[in-house]
Structure formats: structure tokens, C-alpha cells
Symmetry: C2
Subunit: 377 residues, 2 copies
């Protein structure tokens, strides 16, 4: 029985992780659930899964929940991550709030399944150093990184390239000149994946793919120049590894996040789950691939450039993007203002190439202010 | 330095294996080379690679070679397979002559790279029992089985299906009614692979794919009903594994036999080899898949049926097919006589479901006579 803390349990990944827990009552047990401000859903989850601990951001929500389920105790997410009774911490929050609990879980030598890409993008060197010094291998949850992980099982270090597949997001077929006027509603219509709002917008800009490259760089300890992207609109091949001998391995499945989530929870086993769709390749007929049109996706180039510069630049990238996407979703800026504002923050930033956790958090705060000022100024 | 015995060194696989040896002079060394009757090529190989031992079938050829290279000594293939100075035996002969040396190599606890599929098809239970009792893992050389092997590295036993890809061979686009009159020259024009003559004809009938299913059944200890075929005319995806959780892994490369040959020689390492082509998936554009039209390929159904019956039936299948393909290549029977003669032999055969090596060899001899009699009678 694997005992779980799920941070971000009311989000898209968290809810799907609980579907997996529901499917394997004899193998997975929830000890702690943390969310932000979705009290009604947290209440349902607590009543169904009976965790020992919960977390919600607002004091009023916590009191409300405890009135209804007094046996479930409040605990801050960071403390959940190091509970002695927890085996595996699923960090499924979005944005920088995942960083603290990730470091806490690694410090407590827990298994860590990481769905929060910002933790690795903004502080990859710090997080992977913490994993290494505690003897922990991070389990990726992103479909692309799960694919790479699966392809690398049993392999040595003779890796020529990692090939991240990109669906191209909501606007892959839109004429470039229309992008200035697309709406948040349009950006949220992803062609193949149902995900959270921020990551769906990041998919439309390909910022998400750029961040995934930085994430892969740290997860698999591969130089960034050996990580490439390839367009694959169907999201069936989730990524590929080319080895030194020219052999390529790929991982495929129907696009359903429950599969990589389950693998991160079941590893090193694989569990049969009839709820998960099976891939019928003969029926799919063809798998299409093509080069990524970098000119169409300025955020991708910005992410790779921030990754090459290293230090505090990736933190600035993440923070600026998070603020800019928030402004776009709130209808306050246009779609093309996202790369413009991120670029401006990166250009103005005076970074260091060796960054402490303090430097990273300071750069994060600076970039957020910078974007908000630039957008409203 | 890995020291090799290559049985079948003048054939297609043997010659390509020597290209790999040539590319890695510091890692591979040839100790023994065996061939049939290609004296001129064996002479070249002996002069280039300086093996300690050679083998040729005809006494006259042996004397001829020893006159020119007196320091290279004759040794029968079976004895090469158990030489103390040999680390790995590559069995790259075609037909039943590979069986004896394979068993000899396993008995001597050598690494065995098996390109000869007949050994496993006709005597899979005996060969795998010998491998198991000697603690040896057979390294497949066939591109499909190498793909499955690579996909299974680091995985447990939670396998839902093995999916063998089939190019469809030379006649995949020919109207069925024309197949009776196709010529050997046409059958030898494989659309994607350059291989030996027998296996190329077996590819056109899909007998090869059926035999591969039986081979996979033994190599990976999987029930035959979990092995399926999928049409993939481009021969870029070499096979796939579907796991219990619905995740699918595939191995891809440009169609070049040197890659799986090298992997069988380099395993557990992967070696960079600039002679091998790299796959450019974005340039390939699309990978096409479709169901296998079983009605078009009676040999495939015959092979699977022989596999289900087990015992001596697969040996009858192999022997009958080898004779029938020989007759077809000699212009003595038509293309559609191949399944007809194999079917006849399987129908007339009175097999046992537990077969000793003696039973297998007797069934082999019986089936050959049966086919020759039926073809000339």
C-alpha cells in the first residue's frame, strides 16, 4: 500500500490522480490533500478518501471544512510533504507554490511525483541537487517527460537527443496575423488535451514546450542543445529518445493524463486499468510529424534562451509568463502581449548565472512586478 | 574486447555484422567464421579479419583456403560455438542448420545473438529450455525482435500485447488474382529491406511474419494470442509493446539491419556509429499503419496455426516452407504453390504436442520429402 500526499488535489492533475486512487483501493491510500480555495470539491474529496490531513488557503474555508469533517486536521502543504506516514508526494500545484513542498519532500527522502513544471524550470539546479543528495529520483508526471522516462528505463547514458513532441496548441492552424485578437476562450480550446487553464494557454504559445525542454534538461541531466521539438498534432506519440547508435524509442498512448499520472504512482510496476483508453494504431491510420515553426512561437525561443542563460533567467521566464497569462485570461492584455511582456522582463533582468534559492525567489518577485507595471503602465 | 564466432559470415547478416566489426576494431574481434560454399568471399574475410578458425562445407574449398591462408584452421561450426576463446556466437545462417550450433553455444554458456529464426520456430521450447538452464538470455537480431527487446529493457512482466509491424512485402499492392503468376525476380524486390533471398520471399508471403510471431513467443515467453501484427509499409517502426496500463513503447529507425546487428553485439552498451543512418521523423512526415489483411496472406494463418498446435508442427512449417521457397526460386512452382504445399504438409502431418529434438528433426526430414514429392508428383 503506497501512502500519498496530493498537493493540488482540486486541480486537473489532482482530480485525475484521485481517479487512479479510486481505481486501486488496495494499492493506494490518501493521507493528505492540499488545495487552494475550492472548498466544495475539497469537502467532497475529504469525505470520499478520508485523508488524515487537508489544506486550504483561507482560514474561513479551513474552519468550514473542519466543522463538517472534524476528524480531518489542517496541515500546511510543506508539512504534508514530510509527514512520516507519507511514501509519495504528488506535487500537482501550478506555478511557484510547488517549489517549497517539492524541496521539503526531497529533504524528507520521499518519493516525489512532479506535475508542477515550474519547480524544475525556475530552480532546476537546486531541486535536482536536493534530489541527488537525498538519493531520490524525481518521477515526472507530464506526458512528455513520462514518455522520456519510460523510454529511458533500462538504458544507459548513451543518449543522442531527446525529442519532445508538440501538438501546436489551440492556434497551430491560425494565420499569424489573427493571433493579436484571439480571445482567452479560444486559447483554452486545446485540440487534444484537457488540462488546467494556465498550461492550456502555455500550450497555445508553446511556452509550455519551452519549459518542458528546461524541465527535461534537469530531469534527465541532458544538455539543452540535445533536446529538440517536433510537431505532432495528434498527441499520440508523447516523446522520443534517440540513442547514440541511432535507435529511437517512443512512448505512445491515447492522449489521457491518467496514464502518466498512474505510472508515476505505480512505478516500478504497471497496473492494468480498464478505465484507461487503449490505443488502436491500425485504426489511427497515420501518425503525423513535422518541424516546429519557431517564428510562429516566440515564447518557445524565449524559454530556450532563458534556459541557455541559466541562473535566475528561467525564474524570470516562469514568473513573467505566469503573470502575463493571468492578465490575458482576465482579458486585460492580448495574446501577443504574452511574449512581449516576457521578453521585456528577460531583457531588463540583471541575472546571475549561479543562483541561490533566495536569488530565484527574488527574481520571481521582481519579474511579477515588472510585468504588472509594464502591462498597466 | 568481445570475441566473436560468426556462423553464416558470407550471408547478408554475416556481411553486415563484419561491417560492424570493421567499425569497432577496439571492441570486437573475430575468432571464427563459418560459411557454406562462398569460397572467394570467405577468403577475403579471412584475409581482412584474421580469424583463428574458419569453416566451409566442401572439402575442396577448405583445402583451397588453407593453401592460401595456412595459419587459419578449419573447425566445424558446432565446435566454433563452444570454443573457450569465444564470448558471443552470432548465428546468422538461414534454415535448420542454425539449430545445432545454437544449442552447442547455449550448452557452452556463450552469449548467443540469433539471426536464424528457424532455430526458435522449429525448436523453440528446446532452445529456450537450454538457454534457461544455462542462464543465457538470447539476443535477437531480427529488426522486429530487436525492437521488442529494446522496448522491454527495464520493464517487468506486465505485457498486454506484442505488436509486430509488417511491411507487407513485395506484393502488398498487387491484385490477388495476379499472384499466381508472379516471378521469383519480382518476389525478391522487397520495398524496404535488402535481405537474403529466402527471407525476402517469406516476406512476400508473410510467412516471415508468422514465423516471427512464433519466434517472439519463445524469445519473450508470451502466449501466442498476445502477439499481433500491424501493417506498416515504411518499416520505420520495427515493432511495439503494449503494457498492462495501456502505455505503448515503440522502437524506430531507418530500415538498416546493421542497427539491430550492432545492438546485439554491443548490448548492454550502445555505440555511436556514423555509418548508420539517422532517422529524421519530421522529414519522414507521416508513419502509416493499418490492419493486416489475413485473407491475402495464407502463409501467415498457416504459421500461427502451426504455432498454436505446437510440438512438431512448427518444424513441419519451417521445413515445408524452406523446400517450397527453394522450388519457387528455382522456377519449378508458382508463388501460390508455396502456401498450398505448406498447408498440405501440415494437414498430412501426424504430430505430437511434446516434441524431443529427435522428433523435431524427423518431422523436418519428413516434411521436406513430402513437399518435394507433392511438387514433382
Amino acid at each position: 500500500m503506497k501512502k500519498l500526499a496530493i498537493l493540488g488535489s482540486t486541480g486537473s492533475i489532482g482530480r485525475q490522480a484521485l481517479e487512479i486512487v479510486r481505481a486501486f483501493p488496495g494499492r493506494l491510500k490518501v493521507v493528505a490533500l492540499a488545495a487552494g480555495n475550492n472548498l466544495p470539491l475539497m469537502l467532497e474529496q475529504v469525505q470520499e478518501f478520508h485523508p488524515v490531513f487537508f489544506s486550504l488557503e483561507a482560514e474561513a474555508d479551513r474552519k468550514n471544512l473542519q466543522l463538517q469533517v472534524p476528524e480531518c486536521k489542517y496541515l500546511p502543504p510543506q508539512e504534508m510533504a514530510s509527514l512520516p506516514e507519507v511514501d509519495l508526494v504528488l506535487v500537482a500545484t501550478s506555478g511557484k507554490v510547488g517549489l517549497g513542498p517539492t524541496l521539503a519532500a526531497l529533504g524528507a527522502k520521499k518519493q516525489v511525483a512532479l506535475a508542477n513544471k515550474e519547480a524544475l524550470v525556475m530552480a532546476g539546479e537546486i531541486v535536482t541537487a536536493a534530489a541527488k543528495s537525498n538519493g531520490i529520483t524525481l518521477f515526472p508526471v507530464d506526458s512528455e517527460h513520462s514518455a522520456l522516462w519510460q523510454c529511458l528505463l533500462g538504458e544507459g547514458r548513451e543518449i543522442a537527443r531527446l525529442l519532445l513532441t508538440a501538438s501546436g496548441g489551440a492556434f497551430r492552424d491560425r494565420p499569424l496575423e489573427e493571433l493579436a485578437s484571439v480571445t482567452p476562450q479560444e486559447a483554452l480550446r486545446h485540440p487534444t488535451w484537457h488540462m488546467g487553464r494556465k498550461v492550456t494557454v502555455d500550450s497555445a504559445t508553446l511556452m509550455n514546450k519551452g519549459m518542458e525542454a528546461l524541465e527535461a534538461r534537469w530531469l534527465f541531466d541532458i544538455p539543452l542543445d540535445r533536446i529538440e521539438m517536433i510537431m505532432h498534432p495528434q498527441s499520440i506519440v508523447h516523446s522520443l529518445v534517440e540513442f547514440a547508435d541511432g535507435s529511437v524509442k517512443a512512448q505512445l498512448s491515447s492522449p489521457d493524463m491518467r496514464l502518466p499520472i498512474q505510472f508515476a504512482l505505480s512505478y516500478p510496476e504497471r497496473w492494468e486499468n480498464r478505465d484507461l483508453p487503449k490505443l488502436d494504431l491500425a485504426q489511427a491510420g497515420s501518425l503525423h510529424f513535422g518541424p516546429v515553426d519557431v517564428g510562429r512561437y516566440p515564447c518557445l525561443a524565449l524559454a530556450l534562451e532563458a534556459g541557455r542563460r541559466g541562473g535566475t533567467y528561467p525564474a524570470v521566464l516562469c514568473a513573467a509568463d505566469e503573470e502575463a497569462v493571468g492578465l490575458f485570461l482576465a482579458g486585460k492584455i492580448g495574446f501577443l502581449d504574452i511574449p512581449r511582456l516576457v521578453n521585456k522582463a528577460l531583457t531588463l533582468h540583471k541575472g546571475t548565472d549561479q543562483a541561490t534559492l533566495y536569488d530565484v525567489l527574488a527574481a520571481d518577485a521582481w519579474a511579477r512586478e515588472e510585468v504588472l507595471a509594464a502591462a498597466t503602465g
